[in-house]
């Protein structure tokens, strides 16, 4: 009896595709015997096309049925199978068979009674020379593998026949087997439906073959095969469906004893895989990963149904299909290959910045030498003091200070840590053996590190080494940096070092997850050092988001680490009613004199105009002289910055100057605001970091003007650098001049007598009394050897009320400094005070503070409870001889909030760091299926002697990425490409090399894939020789080399096994050159781990 074929065609919306499919069906050289068309939620156009298909049965469904379910529904109208010669052919509107497709399929199945399922080669809808899919298989662990995907069809796979499974699109299945198997698994609506059906068929003892000669054009509408689209939303949904399908099959296929283990591993695996997705820069897939895991774990009875369906039909052992699985080495090879091809598509993402050849190294080296010269007195010191510099705790203490908990400053309290402690913890861990030494390193490294960051940022502005060096030098010789260095403000120094990196990463944030995550961490660090920059950075972020286009999701990630880092502090400040206090500068509150706004405009944060005024008064010149000289020295930068608006690149210059304006506005506001206090003084915000932002925008705009000047830029650039260097000279040489606040060793340390005792008693209390300028007295409780930088807390500095304990301390201090009848023993014991130290820096002159100093000294001397033990120029120390008590830190300070905050910080920063890790992998290429043109294009390229750079990526835009995140809009300015033609040309050359290298790889791949054919053929032949039925193949003659047709040899399962192994062995060779790529290994390793 000749076979009869019933085609079942499922149509959704899409009349165009359906029309071609219907036409293709009617054009079959071996026509179908009957046709069932099922319209699922079809529109009128589609329905009318379906109606014109001359179908035997025309069905319609108003429910949204998945392909598999639709086929099951439709197959019910087909009369039940009466013989094994009745076949069902599954097609969707997006699967148009070539005219001889059915004939080829029938030819194959007709000669092999054991074959129950046959699948065609799915080719591209428009370009039939591109194989979209050829069969489906599984790894040893059950993961779906499509062995041949998106390849240029050079008949290299046409000998393939045995395959573990075939996709559901274009599948030809024996009706009786279809009925016996019970159709597709309803739990696999989109992915793996064909794979699962074929596996069950195999288990039931049937064979599945792929028929490469039968070709079906597949459009990827999402009907018969999952939609092929680069849309992120669809991609994320498909990942969920794919993962759900895989997990479902894992549960369905697993032996009973392993079920519990698999079930328990679902969520942990999702966590691990999510981390790997972060490293792989695909954070969008994480949601789907968890959704799939939870759906499988708690999704109800699907697994049970699937397991019983298998159990019902299983005739052979699982072991029987094991040889058909793809071995691990082959899997790895295929993944590496796929990544390689996607890399080729993605070429040009990374550019060489030529740090060493481009002069960056020389600039940094010059700054290293200058730094050593300027801070020479501190060479060999292990600790710096003075200004805002204090020692750091040990590494353990540094990290313990993070988050929320005991703030060991003064009496101590439970509260949120300053985010700055996190920066200090990282910094101090660099010199973990002595964290305080890291501050010395920071002081020496500040200049070179600033120059380094600025140099890298300058690569986004210009390719000219001279201008890059100019930018880096002017940034490193910034007045606000020297202000911060000489006043001892580590936070402001760190901001100046990090700011160029922030914008370097920020300009790439919309294109890359890694850059976005890096920007997020840098933003958190910069804001931690200077919360007052938050409004300015917020504005820049909003502008950047508005201009980010499709990359807006990545840009939106940027503020998250900073938000989490600041959340506890903001919450506490808001609850306390002092929300503005969030902006207080972290670290030691330094009152200092506030500068004039016009000084700030020149870049100087202090009141002394960068030391110029003191210098002039030394020479007896009027204070008006610096007011004239310094503006002249700074004039070139200002002139160039404004000039940039008139020259090429107006829009980018505008954005830079908007940044500068934001910085300036922040600085001016900072001069007006003081939210913290120390003693009797209000502490104004330090405008230095804001001025750094101002300076950055200014010199970026100035550099743009220089870029636009072309070869006339050398002279102005030289003048600018020279004058800027002169302008900061008085500040720069402050250490040799001894006008700097910073000193070697610890300033304001406890006298040796108390320090020696504090070494052994870390909670030793010392009451520090400091007469204030207005005649009042500041009283501070110090524990151990003294305050540390990471113990500082803005929560403490910005409080406006006194706690009961603070009132007690005030009463104690006030009475100690007075002739008093108070028996201070009880209070001294309450606070665990062993020493009382009076600062005697008020001097000899008659002033309110010296009166208070005298009063306190007299009273303390006359106090019978105290004994004077030491007296220096700066302080007098009394001990409390009978004091034995110390006050320990409460053991449970912070409680669960501490744990919670630490976990939240750890999770957010851990994940962001994972996402920021440079993996060397490109981000988009690995995710997107290539278009037919791309598959063909790659093939075409290798044949050309000089390939063209991919026109899809306009490289000049990449090379011209601007300083500001928003600068991308510049691509609309056609002229901006002009100045960089040299650069883009050079970049293109680099790309060409990259393309050449990559296409060289594909070359070898292509040749090796065709070259070993005789080898395969020979071994296959030798196998075939052992087979009795080898000569009986009717289609053997259709191939030019009949002996290479592996199908000829396959009759039994054993031969399939050997064939597969030979195939895989042969195909390892082309991958050999690729697997040396270390990254490819890393990622595939990761993927494997995840499985």
């Amino acid at each position: 009896m000749p076979p009869t074929v019933t085609a079942i065609l499922v149509a959704h919306r899409g009349a165009e595709h359906l029309r071609r499919t219907v036409d293709a069906l009617s054009a079959q050289t071996r026509p179908v015997d009957s046709l069932v068309v099922l319209g699922v939620l079809s529109d009128e156009a589609t329905t009318s096309v379906a109606a014109g298909a001359a179908a035997d049965q025309l069905l319609a469904s108003n429910e949204k049925l998945p392909y598999g379910t639709a086929l099951s529904v439709a197959s019910r109208v087909v009369p039940p199978a009466t013989s094994d010669d009745e076949w069902l052919w599954f097609l969707g509107q997006d699967a148009a068979p070539e005219p001889d497709a059915l004939a080829r399929l029938i030819e194959t199945v007709a000669v092999s009674p054991s074959v129950a399922i046959a699948g065609p080669k799915l080719v591209d809808w428009d370009e039939t020379a591109v194989i979209r899919e050829l069969g489906v298989s599984m790894t040893r662990f059950g993961a779906t593998i499509v062995p041949v995907e998106d390849e240029f069809d050079q008949a290299q796979h046409d000998r393939t026949s045995d395959m573990l499974a075939v996709p559901s699109a274009g599948m030809l299945i024996r009706h009786s087997v279809w009925e016996k198997l019970g159709g597709f698994d309803p739990a696999l609506p989109v992915f793996d439906d064909g794979l699962d059906l074929c596996v069950r068929a195999r288990l039931a003892g049937h064979r599945v073959v792929i028929v490469p000669a039968a070709r079906v054009a597949s459009a990827g509408d999402g009907v018969s095969v999952p939609a092929r689209t680069p849309k992120g939303r669809v991609r994320r949904r498909q990942h969920r469906q794919k993962r759900a399908a895989q997990l479902h099959r894992r549960m369905a296929y697993a032996p009973a004893f392993a079920l519990a283990f698999h079930w328990l591993s679902l969520v942990p695996l999702a966590v691990i895989r999510s981390l790997l997705f972060l490293i792989g820069k695909q954070p969008g897939l994480i949601g789907g990963e968890f959704a799939a895991a939870f759906a499988t774990a708690f999704g109800g009875g699907h697994v049970g149904q699937a397991r019983s369906a298998i159990k019902r039909v299983r005739a052979v052992k699982w072991k029987a299909i094991a040889p058909l699985r793809i071995p691990r080495a082959e899997v790895r090879r295929m993944r590496a290959l796929r990544r390689e091809t996607s890399l080729v598509r993605m070429h040009g993402e990374r550019r060489d910045v030529n740090f060493f050849t481009g002069g960056g190294a020389w600039v940094v080296l010059a700054m290293v030498l200058m730094s050593i010269a300027l801070f020479a007195p501190f060479l060999g010191t292990s600790q710096l003091g003075g200004g805002g510099l204090l020692p750091l705790n040990g590494v353990g203490g540094l990290w313990a200070n993070l988050g929320y908990g005991w703030r060991d400053i003064g009496i101590g309290f439970v509260g949120a840590a300053d985010p700055f402690t996190g920066v200090l913890a990282v910094l101090g861990s660099l010199t973990f053996w002595q964290p305080s030494f890291s501050l010395v390193l920071l002081w020496f490294a500040a200049l070179p590190l600033s120059a380094l960051g600025a140099w890298f940022l300058s690569t986004r502005l210009t390719h000219r080494p001279v201008l890059r060096a100019t930018f880096a030098l002017v940034w490193a010789l910034a007045p606000m940096l020297f202000d911060a260095l000489q006043q001892g403000r580590p936070a402001a120094v760190i901001v100046h070092v990090l700011l160029p990196w922030l914008f370097y990463a920020g300009t790439a944030a919309k294109r890359s997850w890694a850059a976005a995550a890096t920007t997020g961490i840098l933003t958190a660090a910069v804001l931690a050092c200077s919360p007052s920059l938050a409004p300015a950075l917020l504005v820049i972020w909003v502008i950047g988001s508005a201009l980010a286009g499709r990359g807006v999701v990545r840009v939106l990630l940027v503020p998250i680490p900073a938000l989490v880092l600041f959340a506890p502090l903001v919450w506490q400040q808001v609850v306390r009613g002092t929300p503005l206090a969030v902006f207080a500068d972290p670290g030691v509150p330094l009152p200092g004199a506030t500068g004039h706004p016009l000084h700030a405009a020149l870049g100087f944060a202090d009141a002394d105009l960068g030391g110029w005024q003191s210098l002039m008064s030394i020479f007896g010149l009027s204070s008006l002289v610096p007011s004239i000289v310094v503006p002249i020295l700074m004039a070139p930068i200002a002139i160039l910055a404004l000039l940039s608006l008139f020259l090429r690149g107006t829009i980018r210059a505008t954005l830079c100057l908007v940044g500068a304006l934001l910085g300036f506005a922040t600085a001016i506001l900072a001069l007006q605001v003081s939210v913290a206090t120390t003693g009797s003084q209000a502490v104004p915000l330090f405008p230095g970091p804001a001025l750094s932002l101002y300076w950055l925008g200014l010199i970026a705009a100035a550099t743009m003007a220089l870029v636009a000047m072309g070869r006339f830029a050398i002279a102005p650039a030289t003048v600018t650098v020279a004058l800027a260097a002169v302008a900061v000279a008085p500040l720069a040489i402050a250490v040799p001049l001894q006008t700097s606040s910073i000193t070697e060793g610890v300033a304001n340390a406890l006298p040796a007598y108390a320090a020696a005792q504090a070494e052994t008693k870390p909670r030793l209390g010392t009451l520090l009394l400091t007469p204030q300028d207005d005649g009042s007295l500041a009283a501070q409780l110090v524990h151990g050897t003294g305050d540390t930088l990471d113990d500082q807390s803005t929560l403490s500095d910005t409080t406006r009320t006194l706690s009961p304990d603070e009132k007690k301390l005030a009463a104690l201090a006030g009475n100690l400094a007075s002739t008093s009848g108070l028996d201070s023993t009880a209070l001294l014991k309450h606070f665990g005070i062993s020493f009382v130290m009076l600062q005697t820096t008020a001097g000899e002159g008659i002033s309110p503070s010296s009166q208070t100093q005298l009063r306190a000294e007299t009273a303390l001397d006359g106090n019978p409870v105290l004994t004077q033990v030491a007296s220096t120029d700066d302080s007098v120390l009394w001990s409390v001889p009978r004091q034995k008590a110390t006050v320990a830190v409460p053991a449970d300070a912070g409680g669960w909030l501490r744990v919670g905050v630490l976990i939240a910080l750890g999770v957010v920063f851990g994940l962001t760091l994972l996402l920021a890790l440079p993996t060397g992998r490109t981000e988009r290429g690995t995710l997107r299926r290539p278009t037919a043109a791309e598959v063909l294009g790659q093939r075409a390229k290798k044949k050309e002697p000089e390939p063209e750079p991919d026109p899809a990526e306009p490289e000049p835009t990449e090379s011209e990425a601007a300083t500001s995140e928003a600068a991308e809009s510049e691509t609309r300015d056609p002229e901006t490409t002009d100045p960089e033609t040299v650069e883009s040309a050079s970049v293109t050359d680099e790309q060409r090399q990259a393309v050449d290298a990559a296409s060289g790889g594909t070359d070898s791949e292509a040749t090796t894939e065709t070259a070993p054919t005789p080898v395969v053929g020979q071994s296959a032949e030798s196998e075939a020789g052992a087979e009795p039925s080898s000569g009986a193949k009717p289609d053997a003659s259709t191939e030019s080399d009949a002996s290479t047709e592996p199908d000829a040899s396959i009759e039994s399962e054993t031969s399939t096994e050997s064939d597969a192994s030979i195939e895989s062995q042969a195909s390892i060779e082309p991958g050999a050159g690729v697997t040396e790529e270390p990254d490819a290994d890393t990622v595939s390793e990761g993927d494997r781990n995840a499985e």
Binding site: T650, G679, A682, Q772, I846
Partner: protein, 483 residues
């Protein structure tokens, strides 16, 4: 030829540039000129009023006679002063040891216990002694003062005939190390022997000023103690030829300030004293001034009559830092004056007047001069009082309480004699009044907050005065920033 596009682009650039320059200029001008709102937080502070302590005062003791002007070991006491004391609670007395003085008249410490947590007890004491020795004659009255670590003695001279003794009384339980810094008309004296003087606990040390600065016309002594506290007093006596020309026991004056008030400078028999054989200027009322440190100061000294409140004398001088100067009032008639010192730098000051007894009729001019008895009195600047003050008036002729009100509001003081009558005195703003009180009597003054007061004792050739001071500055409320 430029295309339309490039012209448009150029236009946009020029527009952007002009706007940019305008914005930059605007930002600079705005930052420099526009008054921006400021935010300044007030540091949290606690005003601490010290718990009331036991109070003690030191009465400096009897006048001393120095046989050899430079030998400190030749000191002998010429008797004990009469002491008047009172306190709001029970009072105890003890004497200090005087290791380098022979004879009695040791300094007395009067003390009173504070009640637990209650108000500070009031205590007052004053001593006076009328010396009639061959070389020391005159009235010397002094209040019993608080020991401090820092005091200024504005008095003393070591010229021929003048003897000045610095008396350092340490009532505390620990020894005090005292540094004396002596300023004279020649500037700050270099005196190594004045550093590191040890005053034992519960004892008095007497240092002749001549041992430190010989031949100084006008001295100011800065007493700084560490360890224990001391009460510094200065005994100055003068001999003209063989005739004693007065004695005075001067307590510490007010701490350096830009504005000083010396209440109740009493001028008596000025015509008689100034008409003496010796140069008139040394007998005229004068004010001794010193600017500590090295800065120059412009000082205006005014004397205002207590009775009509008119300014009767104004002197403006420029003081070199560290140099003692005296300004003299040569037009004052007999009466009580309030002396105010206004300066642009902190200064210390005290005033001195000379009072002479009527000459005996007959005899030669030399006899008259030798027989003429004089006494001088030092009036030191005083500090503003608290609301309630206890006053002890020692023995002496016509004691007067001088009250000066430099505040903006009139003050009414209730003067209650211990075990006697009560009456009220109104002191108008900016004015001064003199209240007649009885010798060897004590008074409670209510409503004296902010007033300055002194007591003067005036008789022919027997004048003295002392200032009333509030309980030590060490017990004043203090603002503490416990951060």
């Amino acid at each position: 030829m430029p295309s339309k596009r490039s012209i448009a682009r150029g236009g946009v650039r020029i527009l952007a540039g002009v706007i940019g320059v305008a914005v930059a200029a605007g930002a600079l001008v705005g930052a420099a000129l526009v008054p921006l709102p400021t935010l300044r937080v007030t540091p949290p502070a606690a005003k601490v009023t010290p718990v009331a302590a036991d109070q003690q005062r030191v009465c400096p003791g009897g006048l001393l006679d120095l046989a050899d002007a430079t030998d400190a070991s030749s000191l002998s006491s010429i008797g004990s002063p009469s002491i008047t004391t009172d306190a709001s609670t029970s009072i105890t007395q003890r004497s200090l040891k005087t290791p380098n003085v022979s004879g009695g008249g040791a300094p007395r410490v009067i003390a009173t216990q504070s009640k637990n947590g209650g108000e500070r007890p009031l205590i007052a004491g004053a001593q006076s002694q009328n010396a009639t020795e061959a070389d020391i004659a005159g009235l010397a009255a002094s209040s019993c003062g608080e020991a401090t670590s820092d005091g200024w003695l504005v008095a003393g001279a070591t010229t021929l005939g003048a003897t000045s003794l610095i008396m350092l009384s340490n009532p505390s339980a620990v020894q005090a190390t005292v540094n004396l810094t002596v300023y004279t008309e020649a500037g700050q004296a270099e005196a190594p022997g004045a550093r590191g003087l040890v005053v034992r606990a519960q004892s008095q040390l007497v240092v002749p000023l001549a041992g430190i600065v010989p031949n100084a016309q006008a001295s100011v002594v800065h007493v700084q103690a560490s360890g224990g506290s001391v009460l510094a007093s200065l005994q100055q006596s003068t001999v003209q030829g063989l005739a004693p020309q007065g004695v005075e026991l001067v307590g510490p004056t007010a701490t350096p300030a830009k504005h000083l008030v010396i209440p109740g400078m009493t001028v008596a028999n000025v015509a008689r004293a100034a008409g003496g054989a010796e140069g008139a200027s040394s007998s005229l009322p004068s004010v001794r001034l010193l600017v500590p440190g090295t800065t120059e100061a412009h000082v205006t000294v005014t004397a205002t009559s207590e009775t009509d409140a008119g300014i009767v004398g104004t002197q403006s001088i420029t003081l070199q830092g560290g140099t003692v100067r005296e300004v003299t009032f040569d037009h004052l008639i007999d009466g009580a004056y309030t002396v105010r010192v206004a300066s642009d730098q902190p200064v210390v000051a005290a005033a001195r007047t000379v009072d002479a007894a009527a000459t005996k009729s007959g005899g030669s001019a030399t006899e008259q001069a030798e027989a003429a008895t004089q006494d001088f009195a030092w009036f030191v600047a005083s500090a503003p009082l608290l609301d309630r003050t206890l006053l002890a008036v020692p023995s002496g002729a016509s004691p007067k309480l001088h009250l000066v009100n430099d505040s903006d509001t009139d003050a009414t003081v209730k003067v209650s004699e211990t075990g006697g009558s009560t009456h009220s005195v109104t002191v108008a703003s900016g004015k001064a009044v003199a209240v007649t009180v009885s010798a060897q009597q004590t008074y409670t003054l209510d409503g004296t907050k902010g007033l300055r007061a002194s007591v003067s004792l005036t008789a022919d050739a027997a004048s003295s005065a002392f200032a009333l001071n509030p309980p030590g500055p060490l017990a004043q409320p203090i603002v503490v920033y416990p951060k």
